[in-house]
């Protein structure tokens, strides 16, 4: 009975973390679809969300702090696109990726100087570290419900946005055929900015909601980016909804490896999944096996 319980705990932990990876993956997909760029700095949005919210908490109640953080980081994402990427239209995609790498370092180090290396966290949204709900015999922290709930709602809203609203459809048009979209009167540049802003907002929200559980510290962005990318590749790059499945899978795989391997190696599983996917099935579980979009000649 006990091992079953333990397994359930691990599974839950995997799903919780996995939903964060899913959000990062969705962010990747949004920007990739709209611009072709793989945004290495994706994980930093998550980190910034948590950090900014922690600071705002000094001046405002939790709900305002979280909302404020999301808005601020979203604006930051938009500004990034406007100030930097908009001017670099003539650069090859490879150059742009290198720039996002540099960006992730700069953001990380700036965070270090603004907030120092201490680990911070938001308070539990409801209850505290020891409160728990009993669901199917497993003890679940209410924050986990917050995480899963928030991510689920965000994903559904995003799906509705992309499928049913004019702006959302315009974004999808941009990603599948930029030239045609331009001819149809869609402002590509604004779409790109919007994709950055949305990605940043989603990341920040995830960062806030996961903060009580995993803590927030300035270095958390990079591993998140890799795992989020692994999730995005698992689902097939460019497919935001499949990224959700990818994220959950990565989270669960990581949880399994944590239960079997020494603690130091718990990141290795996720990275290994990434490599495996890239080498064997780069178009993801739901894509064509040929890897045409991802492979060279």
């Amino acid at each position: 009975m006990d091992t079953g319980n333990l397994a359930l705990q691990y599974l839950l932990s995997g799903i919780t973390k996995g939903s964060i990876y899913a959000v990062v993956a969705i962010g990747f997909n949004l920007i990739y679809s709209a611009t072709g760029i793989l945004n290495f700095a994706q994980g930093e949005f998550v980190m910034l969300g948590g950090m900014v919210a922690v600071t705002l908490l000094h001046f405002a109640p939790l709900s305002v702090a979280v909302t404020g953080a999301v808005v601020i980081v979203a604006l930051g994402g938009c500004l990034l696109e406007i100030l930097l990427f908009r001017r670099l239209r003539n650069h090859s995609v490879l150059h742009l990726i290198i720039i996002t790498i540099g960006l992730s370092i700069v953001i990380q180090e700036t965070a270090l100087h603004v907030w120092d290396e201490k680990v911070r966290s938001l308070p539990y949204f409801t209850g505290n570290e020891v409160s728990s709900l009993q669901i199917f015999g497993a003890a679940i922290s209410p924050q986990v419900v917050w995480v899963l709930g928030t991510v689920a709602v965000a994903v559904v809203l995003l799906h509705v946005f992309l499928q049913y609203t004019l702006q959302g459809r315009a974004m999808r048009a941009c990603s599948s055929n930029p030239e045609a979209a331009m001819l149809a009167g869609i402002n590509i540049r604004n779409m790109r900015t919007l994709s950055f802003g949305l990605s940043a907002a989603l990341g920040a929200l995830a960062g806030c909601v996961i903060s009580p559980i995993t803590m927030t510290h300035y270095e958390m962005g990079a591993p998140l980016a890799i795992k989020g990318f692994a999730a995005a590749i698992l689902g097939g790059l460019g497919n935001p909804m499949a990224a959700v499945v990818g994220g959950l899978l990565v989270g669960v795989i990581e949880a399994v490896s944590v239960s079997q391997l020494p603690a130091a190696y718990n990141d290795v599983a996720a990275f290994a999944v990434l490599l495996l996917m890239l080498f064997v099935r780069p178009n993801g579980l739901f894509g064509r096996p040929g890897g045409e979009m991802v492979r060279e000649l």
Partner: protein, 367 residues
């Protein structure tokens, strides 16, 4: 100037600067600076190899810190591990006969049996060769952005593994790595008495690779790599096995990084997990970009200079941020490398400075 002379001129200049730097530091009684300079030179070798892959083959690798670490850790582990418990076995005796195992004294004066540095070096190269093929073969078939991610993932795996395992000393890394008698009276060692000698050993290694890469770049292979970078499909259509060439360039650069790692480890008598980290790997990319990627001399100068300043602590707590900013600035403003535009800009300024005031006045309309 005769073409043959022109070819040698950069080498002569750099050699002169190298010697001049050492002499100057001795005169200024700042010879301890040679230590950081030597380390910066070893790092420069990694960047040179990376510039072959990035500047010529056009592939971005974010995993070269991992290869440096694989080289360094392999030789560190093998030369510090005590194999005495196996002394009685036949294979241990055999290896002793073959001079692979040597008896020596460790830091505390205990008698130990470990692998000789030369044998460890060869093993490190073989291991790197193998791993570079294993990672490179599937990774290089991916488009640029995915290759970057794959190498980053590979680097992170290596980092976590050396950080997490006791064999590699976990977070403390490995210390007490013995010196390496190269032969010809040269020893790679951190002893201050051998500081000048080791500086020139590093210079020599750098020179060796500069010559080799220089030859390569101006040859059939170099052109093939450039063609691949320029237009891979057309290169393939012209009979170049692009996959094989990309892999070979990658493996060569990995071997260079690992070799630098081995020398570095014997020089500093140790190695730590940070050498494998993503930040180091990204720094190598930044330096290759800042040096002009395809410009070997530029890469050498920029890389050595910036790493030296970094090692001397010039950038303080902003050390990593500086390289991030450099990366962004260079790639946004001068993606092919800043040295050419910089040179042109200087020439423009110089030209203006030497014009007469009349020529300098802007034209007032046209006749």
């Amino acid at each position: 100037m005769k073409p043959a002379l022109k070819q040698f001129l950069p080498f002569v200049l750099v050699a002169a600067v190298a010697v001049g730097a050492q002499v100057a530091l001795r005169l200024l009684e700042m010879e301890y600076c040679l230590t950081q300079l030597t380390m910066a030179l070893y790092y420069a070798i990694v960047v040179l190899g990376l510039s072959l892959v990035m500047g010529y083959a056009g592939q971005v690798s974010l995993g070269h810190g991992a290869f440096f670490a694989i080289g360094g850790y392999t030789s560190a582990v093998l030369t510090t591990h005590d194999f005495s418990p196996f002394n009685a076995t036949a294979w241990a005796q055999g290896l002793k006969q073959a001079h692979v195992f040597v008896s020596r004294e460790d830091l505390y004066g205990h008698a130990v049996v470990s692998v000789s540095p030369w044998a460890a070096f060869v093993l490190a190269m073989l291991l790197t060769f193998l791993i570079a093929h294993l990672i490179g073969y599937p990774a290089l078939r991916l488009k640029g952005q995915y290759l970057a991610m794959a190498t980053l993932g590979f680097g992170l795996i290596v980092y976590r593994m050396v950080l997490g395992s006791t064999v590699t000393g976990a977070a403390d890394g490995i210390n007490g790595v013995p010196e390496w008698r190269l032969g010809f009276g040269l020893t790679v060692s951190g002893k201050s008495a051998l500081r000048v000698e080791n500086y020139y050993v590093a210079c020599g290694l750098v020179l060796f690779w500069l010559v080799l890469l220089g030859n390569l770049v101006h040859s059939r292979v170099g052109r093939a790599l450039q063609a691949i970078h320029d237009r891979e499909t057309a290169a393939n259509a012209m009979g170049i096995n692009t996959a094989s060439y990309k892999l070979k360039a990658f493996v060569l650069s990995a071997l260079m990084a690992a070799m630098a790692g081995v020398f570095f480890t014997h020089y500093t008598a140790g190695i730590g997990p940070s050498e494998a980290g993503a930040l180091k790997s990204i720094r190598y990319v930044a330096l290759a970009a800042a040096g002009g990627m395809a410009n070997l001399w530029g890469v050498l100068v920029v890389s050595t200079g910036l790493n030296y300043l970094s090692l001397r602590g010039l950038f303080g707590s902003y050390d990593h941020a500086v390289f991030g900013v450099i990366l962004i600035a260079i790639i946004s403003l001068a993606p092919e490398g800043p040295l050419k535009p910089l040179g042109l800009w200087i020439r423009k300024l110089a030209g203006r400075a030497f014009k007469s005031p009349a020529e300098r006045r802007p034209e007032h309309g046209t006749a």
